[in-house]
Each structure stands twice: as structure tokens, then as C-alpha cells.
Amino acid sequence: MDWQALALTLRLATVTTAILLAVAVPLAALLVLGRWRWLAALEALATLPLVLPPTVLGFFLLVLLGPRTAVGRGIAAVFGHPLAFSFDGLVVGSVIYSLPFAVQPLVAGFAAVPESLVDAARLLGASPARIVTTLLMPLARRSLITAAVLTFLHTVGEFGVVLMLGGDIPGSTRTLSIVLYNQVENFDYAAAGQTAAILLGLSLLALAAIYSKGLKRGSARGGRDA
């Protein structure tokens, strides 16, 4: 068992999930509460990684973050190293790749909160940020948890983006999916089975958490959801 890869995978998924929730909550709120025409284009852009082949996304990011572009050189100057083939680069790739898995459940959850409640909060002087934190988030609690779990699992299982953008550097970019790929390449099916079982177990555990009894009880206390 490659414990180093397991730890790296969990670290990558945790960091990605934390960043994505911080980004996706205001983005989903903007998509639901905003009135501007161009929001449809923004939503399409946020959903794009869902239909884009991971290798294509990984390739674009590899080129963009590499030393041949101004963006890549600028980021390298800030971070002190190029993002391609580094853990930080993997985080950037994972955040973009998993963005729809965080945004879509939140948009559905926020949109399910009745507009009359949002109007009432506006009339009572609540700022958009307060409406999100005191109304949308508590009432769409289940969507928040779903978004977090889906993002985490999606990051744990990603392969194409990781391979294109991060390569296979032990301790830095070698995640469990890459380990599994290497084990199959080497015909080590016993080890591959063990790695696959861990990935499967993580997925089942997380999905069980979504449908757990405690969550349903929490939902009944006032949670509204799509």
C-alpha cells in the first residue's frame, strides 16, 4: 500500500474542497440572486469542466501554467516555482476540474429557497452576504454537504488532469489514481485491487454520509433542498 500517495490524495482533496466551497458558495449565490443577463454565460463557464475531457483540461492548464506563457511566468514569480508538475498546480487543476460538482448542488439548493424569504430578508435590511450566510446556507445545508462530499470524491478519483498537469512525482503529484494506473501497467493486480478497494471504500463512506440518518434529521429541522 502506498501510504504516501494516500496521504497526498487526501491532502489534495481536502485543500481543493476547502477552496472550492469558499469559491462556489458566493458564485452559486450570485447565479441564483443576481439579475444580470451575462450570468447565464458565467454559469455555462462554471459548468464547462463537467463536459470537457479531463485530458483536454489538463493539457490547456499545462500549457497555460508552463514557463512559455506570461501567465505561467507570472505565477512562477509569485509562488517561486512553476505550477506545472507541482502540488500547487494540482490544486489549481482540481479546483477548476471539480468546480461544477460544487456549484451545481449549491445552485439547486439556493434556488429551492423560496423567493419570498429572500425578499423578506432584503426588506429587513440584510446585505447579500448576510442573506447567503443566515438564510441560503442554513436552508440549503444538505446541498452544502452534498457539494463538499462530491467535490472531495471527485478530486480523490481524478486521473486525467493529474496525469497531464502533475505527472507522476512521488510525494508531490503521485495520487492514488496514478498509483493504481502504474500497478495495472506493471500487471500487479493484487496491489491494484487493494488500491481500487480503498478508492471504492472512500466513495461509499462519503456517499453513506450524505444519506445518513443524522443528515435527514437535520434537513427536517428546517433544511430545504432541491
Binding site: R35, A120, P138, G222
Partner: protein, 239 residues
């Protein structure tokens, strides 16, 4: 004094109305679909920014401009010193009745907040409901709490859209009387939308009669409603 000129479109419905409410208590009267709710929502500052159905007009309260689309001025609903209660109470389901009333008192110190909550719940006859969640309230109780929540911030303009529809006649009349006394004592200009002629007669010093999104009459309740009664009787005789 509340002055307004509004042109709005909602699908095939058009609201084109202007008026000046000089009285402290005005009733907007008309049948369902006349545009009462649309007018009150716009006076409250809601729905002006809908990109699909633009609204034009101007609203001033005591000579202070709340909205003027020609000048792209649009004061946010929470900054208009107005409170609104609609037919649907829209209480926040995850908060107790007291916490619902406290929602608009953001930034107040706890002691002042607690005093205000108690005062408002007592005014609407809902003191014993403070700890209950909206799911545990009847329709009438929820409307009382929604009224307390709207009053708590001390609005200068109170907009009531059939707010006591879930209360029986006697309870509704009693609450309206208490509310009128409170509004008078606090100098709050109130606009009540109703299709109930008894509400209009009981409370209306001034009535705006709306039909199909247009102003039919604006004036003293007795005159406006007598004219409406004559019109309805005339239609009855014709049929």
C-alpha cells in the same frame, strides 16, 4: 406623504398608476388581479431590477426620493425605511418567532433587541409564541409574527398586502385597530391593500381604487367606495 408614478409590465399585465397619498392611512382597493400586490412590492423597492421586465417610475416619501429610474436612482428595499407584510408571512423556517422579529434588528445590542422583540410581539398579541418555530404556528399566528417583524425596525412606510387573510373577522378587526393606533402614535404612513370592502371602510381615510392596473379613483373612502358600489349595482341591474 407618499408620491409615486409607476409603469410596469408583468407578462401581459400592465400597471400604470400614479398617486399622492396625503393621508397617514391609505387603502389600495380593487379586485384580484387589479395590481395591488405589484404596486405594493414596487413601493417597497422590490422587483425594480428585473432585467426581463423593466419598470419605470419615481417614488418619493416625504420628499425623499426612493426611486427615480430616469436618474437611475434605486434605493435598496432595506434602506427605504419601509416594512412590508404580504399575505404569505414568509417567516424564516429555521428561526423561532422571536429570532424572526430580531432579524431586522441586526447591530442592535442584545438588551435593546430583547425589549423591542417583547414590545412588538405584545403589540400583535403573540407574546406566547416567541419560542415557536414557524412550522408550529397557525396561519393567523404566523401573520401576527410577520407583522411584528416588519414593525420592529420602526419603518416610516408600512405596506400591508392583505396581511390578515388568515385571521377571523373579529381578530382581524381588533389587530387592525391596534395597528392603526400604533401607526398614528409613531407617525408611520401605512398603505393597506385589500379586496375586502369592510376593511377599506373601517380603516380607510383615503382609498385608491385600482382596476386592471389603472387608477380608477383616489379620494376619501366614503366617496370612492360609494362610486364603486353604484357601478356594481348598475352592472347588476343591467344583467
Amino acid at each position: 406623504m407618499l408620491e409615486f408614478r409607476i409603469e410596469a409590465r408583468r407578462g401581459s399585465f400592465r400597471l400604470e398608476v400614479e398617486g399622492r397619498f396625503a393621508s397617514e392611512w391609505t387603502v389600495v382597493f380593487g379586485p384580484s388581479g387589479a395590481g395591488k400586490s405589484t404596486l405594493l412590492r414596487l413601493l417597497a423597492g422590490l422587483d425594480w431590477a428585473r432585467a426581463d421586465e423593466p419598470v419605470r417610475g419615481r417614488v418619493t416619501l416625504d420628499a425623499i426620493e426612493l426611486t427615480d429610474t430616469d436618474r437611475r436612482l434605486r434605493l435598496r428595499p432595506g434602506r427605504r425605511q419601509s416594512g412590508m407584510v404580504a399575505q404569505e408571512p414568509a417567516l424564516f423556517p429555521h428561526l423561532s418567532a422571536a429570532a424572526n422579529v430580531a432579524y431586522g434588528l441586526h447591530g442592535w445590542d442584545r438588551a435593546r433587541q430583547a425589549r423591542r422583540i417583547a414590545e412588538m410581539l405584545e403589540l400583535v398579541g403573540a407574546t406566547e409564541l416567541a419560542g415557536r418555530r414557524p412550522a408550529e404556528l397557525s396561519g393567523g399566528q404566523a401573520q401576527r409574527v410577520a407583522l411584528a417583524r416588519a414593525l420592529a425596525r420602526g419603518p416610516q412606510l408600512l405596506l400591508l398586502d392583505e396581511p390578515f387573510s388568515a385571521l377571523d373577522g373579529a381578530a382581524s378587526d381588533a389587530l387592525l385597530e391596534r395597528l392603526q393606533a400604533w401607526a398614528r402614535a409613531n407617525g408611520v404612513q401605512t398603505v393597506l391593500a385589500t379586496h375586502d370592502v369592510s376593511d377599506a371602510l373601517m380603516t380607510g381615510a383615503e382609498v385608491l381604487l385600482l382596476r386592471e392596473g389603472r387608477k380608477v379613483a383616489l379620494g376619501p373612502a366614503a366617496n370612492v367606495l360609494a362610486g364603486e358600489r353604484d357601478r356594481l349595482l348598475g352592472r347588476l341591474e343591467l344583467s
